[in-house]
Amino acid sequence: MNNEQPLLDVRNLWIKAQDQFILNGLDLRIGLGEVHAIMGPNGSGKSTLVQSLAGHPGYTIEKGEISFDGEDLLTLTPEERARRGLFLAFQYPVEIAGLGNGYFLKAAVNAVREARGQTPYDAVEFLKVFRELAPLVGLGQDFLERGVNAGFSGGEKKRNEILQMLLLEPRLTLLDETDSGLDVDALKLVARGVNATRSKDRSIVLVTHYQRLLDYIDPDVVHILIKGRIVRSGTRELAREIEREGYEPLLTAMA
């Protein structure tokens, strides 16, 4: 990690849901342009972490600080976080039948563009941008007419998330188990979309169970999250070690 101020700085984060602590004093720093992978067994708090960062109202922040680009993230609403450049790709994208994808995507992109002082797209401009980006994740124009995630296959939902990421141009992307439920072809498409957004100005956090995704998206740092805390950090070799040995040795060491 470079020595400049990190894009995301999480310090001593304690989070509760339904009267139980899920995160127990978690620390995490993500530098600009870095790609971090967070791995961990079921129930370790991975999704809680990224959903809380996006502002999900179902979690209570009991203690700790989160700074995003020097600003206190905890004082911001979910939409303010999105407008400042934080994007969460959902593990289970919500289905909204009746709301056309095209209508939704244009409304979202323009909400973010307006907040950033950019001119909103008109219909023609939006379609032009869509046509440039959608092929990256293997989606065609017919997709604009369909309801948001309604009746989508698992792969289509995940590709829709990545398309939204490409359209919204976030500075920090949080991918919550985006690889789950994907076959290898869909995984490659998703990875292609993610890699297309990699730059020195953008950071990515990959939450995953498996090393497989890291074959296609090369992380700078790998963290292991167990029982609400990051217990080890390392290089991609750490992910391979987990793949070989599982989490059991770490859990045993913690016991």
């Binding site: 502002g55 909204i96 039948a97 009746g98």
Partner: protein
Amino acid sequence: MSSPVESFRPRALSGSSPTRIRSWDDARTHAEKALEVHAPPDRHDERWRYTRAQDFLPPLARSNETTASAERKLGTELTTPAPSEEILLLEDGKIGDPEARRRDGLRHGVTLRTMREAWTEDPALMKRIVLSSPIRDRYFVWWNTAHLDDGYVIVVPRERPHDRPLQILWQSPNAVVVRRLLLVLEPGARLDLVEGEAAYPNQLRHLVRDIHLDREATLHHALLDAPGVHENWLWTTGVVVDEGAAYHALGVHAGARKARHEICVDLSGSWAQATLDAAVLLPSKHVFDLQTEIVHRADATESRQRVHSATAARATAVYGGTIVVESATKGVVAHQQSRGLLLDPASDINSRPELHIRSDDVLCTHGASIGAIDPEGLFYLQSRGLNASQARALLLRAFALRVLETFPAAASEVLRTALAKRLEVLVRLLVPEVAL
């Protein structure tokens, strides 16, 4: 125990059987006698728990008054007609535009007559409609007949081109308005009808429709009411669907101080179909009571009902959906679904399915759900940069538009546009009222 169908159709009046009706005067006399014998429905009837008959019974002295303020509200803009299309303006007791009969939408053999004219010129047709109407023995249909100045009879032949919707706008500034429409589609005819009412403050409006679809005829029917918190209105619609014919209706409703629509559909011929869909979007304090009844009288008849209701503070939406499958019918399919979205905790949605299945060879489903805006959907949209108000608006819009999405694709673009436009208007009206 009497069936709901029978309970809607009391015994024939002694000495005043509808079979003896041969003229306009006979029809009125029959209705007046019926009103003397029968009391208005009361709350012992489950269908009248949320709106009362008294809500729709005015002092007759008011009937010729105009409303204090004739400022027209929503409802006059059905859609923007293309140059070759037109809106047929019907005012009470007369056809609003004297040129209407010669207009394009009514050419190609379509006839438009007043009921008095039709009783004189084609009594056989009128008698057929009266005798087969599934709503002929309802209190407010008698009331309508007894108080009506005149109504309209439209007959659509097969030759009329399909691609030209007919648009009807009802309007009158009178304090009490009594309307009647008889619509007949001859064998093989097809019509897309967009029908709306203009609303005036403090009005009481009655509209009775009798629709007869002969063999293989198809009617797509957009029903648009106009939101008005200070009005009461009652629609009663009876539809007879003959063999192979199809009736597809979609109502977009904003309700009123008290608003009620009763629709009774008789699927009387084999392979007859009916779709009764509605998007009910009620602003604060509005009431809308939708009572449907679909009677499957023949083999292989199919029906589907889908009602989506959303209510702002102190609004009340009611849906009573009755399905009757008569004995000895085979291969009947009937689906009913009701979804309610409470936009404010201080609002009411009541849903009451009633299924009377008297045959074994039936596929019948029903489902009802009522809830608030999905917090996960809200968070999803907010996480994409939309503020809470924008997100709620999109979710409400999606909820309403789903009804339009599943409406038969064969409906014309003009009809779909009219429905979509009205839905958008009502969503915009409701969004500021959605509780945070």
